[in-house]
Symmetry: C3
Subunit: 268 residues, 3 copies
Amino acid sequence: NMNESPVLDTQRIAGNPTAVPPPIDRDSPTTVSVEMTTHEQVAEVEPGVTYTYMSFDGRIPGPMIRARVGDHVEMTVTNDESNSMPHNIDLHAVRGPGGGAEASMVAPGETKTFTFKATYPGLFTYHCAVPNLDYHISSGMFGAILIEPEVGLPAVDHEFYLGQHELYTTGDAGEEGHHDFDFEAMKDEEPTYVLINGEKYAIGPNGHNEMQIETGESARVYYVSGGPNLSSSLHPIGSVWDEVHPQGGIGSDVHRNIQTTPVPRGRR
Amino acid sequence: NMNESPVLDTQRIAGNPTAVPPPIDRDSPTTVSVEMTTHEQVAEVEPGVTYTYMSFDGRIPGPMIRARVGDHVEMTVTNDESNSMPHNIDLHAVRGPGGGAEASMVAPGETKTFTFKATYPGLFTYHCAVPNLDYHISSGMFGAILIEPEVGLPAVDHEFYLGQHELYTTGDAGEEGHHDFDFEAMKDEEPTYVLINGEKYAIGPNGHNEMQIETGESARVYYVSGGPNLSSSLHPIGSVWDEVHPQGGIGSDVHRNIQTTPVPRGRR
Amino acid sequence: NMNESPVLDTQRIAGNPTAVPPPIDRDSPTTVSVEMTTHEQVAEVEPGVTYTYMSFDGRIPGPMIRARVGDHVEMTVTNDESNSMPHNIDLHAVRGPGGGAEASMVAPGETKTFTFKATYPGLFTYHCAVPNLDYHISSGMFGAILIEPEVGLPAVDHEFYLGQHELYTTGDAGEEGHHDFDFEAMKDEEPTYVLINGEKYAIGPNGHNEMQIETGESARVYYVSGGPNLSSSLHPIGSVWDEVHPQGGIGSDVHRNIQTTPVPRGRR
Ligand SMILES: [Cu+2]
Ligand SMILES: [Cu+2]
Ligand SMILES: [Cu+2]
Ligand SMILES: [Cu+2]
Ligand SMILES: [Cu+2]
Ligand SMILES: [Cu+2]
Ligand code: NA
Ligand code: NA
Ligand code: NA
Ligand code: NA
Ligand code: NA
Ligand code: NA
Ligand SMILES: [Zn+2]
Ligand SMILES: [Zn+2]
Ligand SMILES: [Zn+2]
Ligand SMILES: [Zn+2]
Ligand SMILES: [Zn+2]
Ligand SMILES: [Zn+2]
Ligand SMILES: [Zn+2]
Ligand SMILES: [Zn+2]
Ligand SMILES: [Zn+2]
């Protein structure tokens, strides 16, 4: 049972919200190479509460991928040899069987590479899609891939990257000690935690505190909802969204001056 | 009590996803005649699990209706004489009292006809709207009506028709035997089954397996969410929706390259 | 404990759906002054069932505010001296700390004024945003502010104003007597009542019955979803929405002929 992991590594799993690849400034397509390693690791949900997360590259959400329409993306997935389960990656920027899930299925210690062409713009989810994928996503295996249109995106002063998902454990929120995954709670849609970037205090003074801008600056937020069950109603306190790409679609109209935008969970 | 129906008829109630009326190829309006019979019938939710469904024409979702802006639709509803309850039809393509519900209220053995003019384009829900309508909808009485704009819809290689709804029963999912409707579970929004086309295995190798297209072909999905309680977050695995008409509205912009689109339940 | 309020005042708290400020007919900006008093008052949810509501100006939703892009809004909030708690106002039409919450925090008996400039059009939520804001919103402290674009809104024959929110009490729906607030039920998202304009029978023959229009007339509905937890799927029975401003955004496209539109809860 992987929840009884012998190594208690309480390193932070929360992704840094400023870890966004730079805007694309190319006039022609290229090949973008992405390497990710899947991990199963114990980390703290909040001080004193541990869980055996699964992740892409040891952070939640997994690394943000950025490419351009017309690019080829060469995706390499390694399943860390210390892991106990198979993993793979399903990217919603991929048109093909399981969004790449079949081509990237890796056993512990194994590595696989596949290439896809980005044919449509948008901000899309990626996630592990093995059987029992809900368990893997709820444990942290999701992230976002941005496919910029050929003309690029309007310049902004800051870009941030956030991922919401929910954790279902056998314990109660705040209960000290190690929590195991609770399949029954997931089925009943009764999460123990609903988290941004995988930890209770991921963003702010007790976590990553870099999400700061000056008055008059602009910022773009890349927001991915991993689920597995909940959708999100996203509102910036003390402001509105100047422009929203509904459901991450970049190829069509923006909605302007939106106080709260619904973000459906990434899959289903 | 209709749940104690003496006739155990385990015929399939799942609608065929390819049962879509042909695209409209007319330059002028006409009168479209639609006849439906309401049924109360025992069928299997999954092997060994039965339920006394209610339906339009014995299938879930009910037959898809297709007309054009400017058409007159002559709607005839017959309540099968073997039934135990009144039924009617409320079409969201109708602007008028109860969307036609008042004009079509029929007792068992009765037939009624009413005519309406389609004045706006879109994909709309229809459903039974007698008192206790939640019970009737949850038992299967919903479907879709498509009103094409005068210019028609872009041609596609395939069209499919799917309906989501949830069933609330006194049993647990998978529990063998006959299940009765559970009003308390409906009020608590704790469905026993969330179904596509009315059965657990409606679509696929153990059900209707016609939902197949070739690489390079295009397909349009008409998706109706009967509810009565749940909304849907609809994502095509291994792809995105090239074009979405948000909430079925055809008279305004499409959203492009959408991985997951929210489909609110059809009524409320 | 404020739920044990000694004064049992069973006055109606339901706001009149026709209480909409007149359309703006100005070519230049002005200063709009708004005064509101916060109240804590016992009223009936339905006959025989009382609750200690909190409100802006003694009604739910709070008074609708109407201004134009470019206007300055001078907002004065008084906390009635008979109250037991601090209150404030967070308006989603305000770009600034807490949407005005910090500037308007008032203790019982206190008054504060602040001014903001309306810089973007739309229909926005306002709400109390003190700590434990969910409790205050669920008790009735929410409303809407409309910022018209400079060109105004198309003329209509009628305008209506409705607010949805949910109440979490220690009793069951319909249970006679005084109900206290139930924090556990709110956390579990199991409301006792989901209400339009704050009462079970707010609109209709047993409440405000003014929401009537003639065949052929047009009407615009300003719909605010206070939450604190539930989103809404809004459908006009026997009709569709000719034009919807998705999520209240007026600065971008309308969606046309929409049977059901999702309204996310106003905050979070
Ligand atoms: Cu996995
Ligand atoms: Cu997926
Ligand atoms: Cu019926
Ligand atoms: Cu209806
Ligand atoms: Cu308050
Ligand atoms: Cu707010
Ligand atoms: Na990497
Ligand atoms: Na738990
Ligand atoms: Na028929
Ligand atoms: Na059940
Ligand atoms: Na006032
Ligand atoms: Na209760
Ligand atoms: Zn994985
Ligand atoms: Zn940091
Ligand atoms: Zn800066
Ligand atoms: Zn749009
Ligand atoms: Zn078939
Ligand atoms: Zn084909
Ligand atoms: Zn307040
Ligand atoms: Zn009245
Ligand atoms: Zn009138």
